[in-house]
């Protein structure tokens, strides 16, 4: 610590020390900050406008139904990741968890679809419990921890599925993936429903406040008496739970569980979450933004498909979008730190 060497020198040192900024930041800065915070809605609006006007077949009933179902399954994972990332964690293994949940669901279908679905979802939550335990109790960095469990979960999924796709034969196996209400199929309804529930938890309950608190300043949260470890572990369980739900929905939709699915899931889900305004540095983010981020990426992906852009170019475009969003997040984080 480089404090004042002698008390006599203090008055001069005090006068020389820079004053904290008392005036609010400039107007353009505030406006920019607002745009960056709600960027997902702006981007979604732009993408929708472009797609409706210029992309053939985009605004057809069939396409809307298909597109919403497609982005909703990954979108549910985005919602769980949003909560986890607000608490300053991340789960790189959501895709593996998704595959495991689907396989568990298909393997246990003879117990009846509801019980099997529950088992699949619980398998996802179980992976979250393991992640939470490894990160908070064994103090392993969460990147390493979730990367390791991802590999283990992948292996386990191939073992229990005997490396083959398991087809759904039980009565009602495919119902969840294909039931339809108006324009939307069940996965889309589940996505919007889970989004609303998660939004209410994050904004209206003490639990949500605690997740923001531990992501913002875990020391301060600890001093305020919060059980930081348990709350952090619980956020991993939420991410696992959401991956489990997504896995069951995906298997139901395909009427089969493939142990190899989910390779691009983490990239999509994390991108959507960050586009939605959730910071990689914890404490900042919101569920509604993530929902908009999912829809934005979904519209872009769908439009590129309809326009016949090759899958490789789609990767390039997704990568560029992700990089620009991460850059803006780093910029925002620096502003927050110096504010």
């Amino acid at each position: 610590m480089a404090d004042n060497p002698t008390p006599q020198e203090q008055p001069t040192a005090e006068a020389a020390s820079p004053q904290p900024p008392e005036s609010p930041p400039a107007r353009w800065g505030e406006r920019l900050q607002w745009i960056i915070e709600y960027r997902a809605f702006v981007l979604l609006g732009l993408a929708l406008t472009y797609a409706v006007l210029f992309v053939p077949f985009f605004a057809t009933e069939r396409n809307i139904t298909q597109m919403t179902t497609q982005f909703s399954i990954d979108g549910i994972i985005s919602i769980g990741l949003t909560i986890l990332m607000i608490a300053w964690g991340i789960d790189l293994g959501v895709g593996a968890t998704l595959a495991l949940a689907g396989v568990v669901f298909a393997l246990s279908q003879d117990l009846g679809v509801p019980a099997a679905a529950l088992l699949g979802i619980l398998a996802g939550a179980g992976v979250g419990i393991v992640n939470g335990f490894v990160v908070t109790r064994m103090k392993v960095n969460f990147f390493i921890a979730t990367l390791s469990t991802m590999v283990a979960v992948k292996g386990l999924t191939f073992i229990i599925s005997d490396e083959t796709t398991i087809y759904g034969h039980a009565e009602g196996f495919g119902w969840m993936g294909s039931a339809k209400l108006g324009l939307f199929e069940f996965p889309a309804l589940a996505f919007f429903g889970i989004g609303i529930i998660a939004h209410l938890i994050m904004t209206q309950t003490s639990l949500g406040t605690y997740w923001y608190a531990i992501g913002g300043n875990s020391d301060a949260s600890h001093r305020a008496g919060l059980n930081v470890k348990r709350l952090f572990a619980l956020s991993f369980v939420v991410a696992g739970l959401c991956s489990g739900i997504a896995g069951v929905l995906l298997a139901s939709r395909a009427v089969s569980a493939n142990p190899g699915v989910g390779r691009d899931t983490a990239l999509f889900a994390i991108s959507a979450t960050v586009i939605g305004g959730t910071s990689l540095f914890g404490g900042v983010g919101n569920v509604l933004g993530a929902v908009a981020g999912v829809m934005f990426l979904g519209v872009v992906r769908n439009s590129l498909n309809l326009l016949g852009v090759s899958a490789y170019w789609q990767w390039v475009i997704q990568g560029v979008i992700l990089v620009s969003v991460v850059v803006s997040d780093v910029y925002m984080n620096r502003r927050r730190r110096t504010a």
Partner: protein, 263 residues
């Protein structure tokens, strides 16, 4: 037993490895006074306060609250004794608003037992009232802390500490990072708290602050108590003399000790 002391620390010692940070230190805090705790870097001020607030556990010595011996082994113990430490690095969540910071971990809730719904209306109303009562110039408890100046953050931290009946406030260099005007506002708040019946220990490098608002000032040097002085009876030079030269005057042995220890 002297019952007009709200806090008594007796013979507190603390060693970090080979460094004796505190050596048989006594401290007495009277009810409703501001006690300044001053000393050079590494004098042991922060260590002593961390022991009282439960962040460190002393190797030896006693702590008495209202004449009764207590065991303070973690921050929760300290809080149950009515002791609240306001840290130099603040302990606020910058990403939360003022009310959520004040009530963090002690929210008003209603509804479901397994998922408690925040009673935001009550929290905002009580926070606004608290800010008003303490004359804290923050326009709304809905403002996020990250948008605030250093002085405003210090005041939110103080409000958070006293919102739940802390009678004993420990403040670690609250004015260190503040400009002159903000520092003065904060000092006035500390004085108001004292007048409202709170007892305050104020660690500071700025001796004039303590002479302006304090009742007594205690000097630490090299992990030992050098003296405790009544502010009304001393001037800046007396305190500075004690900080720099110690009780025994300038002895080379004490200077050497100072560089070995840290606070």
């Amino acid at each position: 037993m002297e019952s007009n002391y709200i806090v008594e620390m007796k013979g507190i010692s603390k060693r970090f490895g080979s460094v004796q940070a505190l050596n048989q230190v006594d401290l007495e805090l009277r009810e409703g006074e501001i006690l300044g705790l001053v000393g050079d870097n590494a004098a042991g001020k922060s260590t002593l306060m961390k022991i009282l607030s439960g962040a460190h556990v002393a190797d030896g010595g006693q702590i008495l609250i209202n004449g009764e011996e207590v065991s303070i082994r973690d921050p929760r113990d300290a809080r149950s004794c009515g002791i609240e430490m306001i840290y130099q690095d603040l302990a606020l969540c910058n990403n939360l608003d003022v009310a959520r910071n004040i009530f963090l971990g002690r929210e008003y809730t209603r509804g479901l037992p397994f998922l408690s719904i925040l009673d935001k209306k009550k929290m905002y109303a009580e926070s606004a009232e608290l800010l008003k009562r303490l004359n804290i110039n923050i326009s709304s408890p809905r403002l996020k802390v990250e948008r605030m100046s250093g002085g405003q953050r210090q005041m939110v931290a103080a409000a958070k500490a006293i919102a739940f009946d802390a009678r004993i406030l420990l403040m670690d260099e609250p004015t260190a990072a503040l400009g002159v005007r903000e520092a003065n506002t904060l000092l006035r708040l500390i004085k108001d708290l004292r007048d409202g019946g709170h007892s305050v220990i104020l660690i500071t490098q700025r001796v004039p602050d303590i002479l302006a608002i304090g009742d007594r000032v205690m000097v630490l040097k090299g992990g030992r108590r050098q003296g405790i002085l009544n502010v009304s009876e001393v001037g800046l030079d007396d305190v500075v003399e004690l900080i720099v030269r110690g009780r025994a005057g300038a002895e080379s042995g004490e200077d050497a000790l100072e560089y070995l220890s840290f606070g």
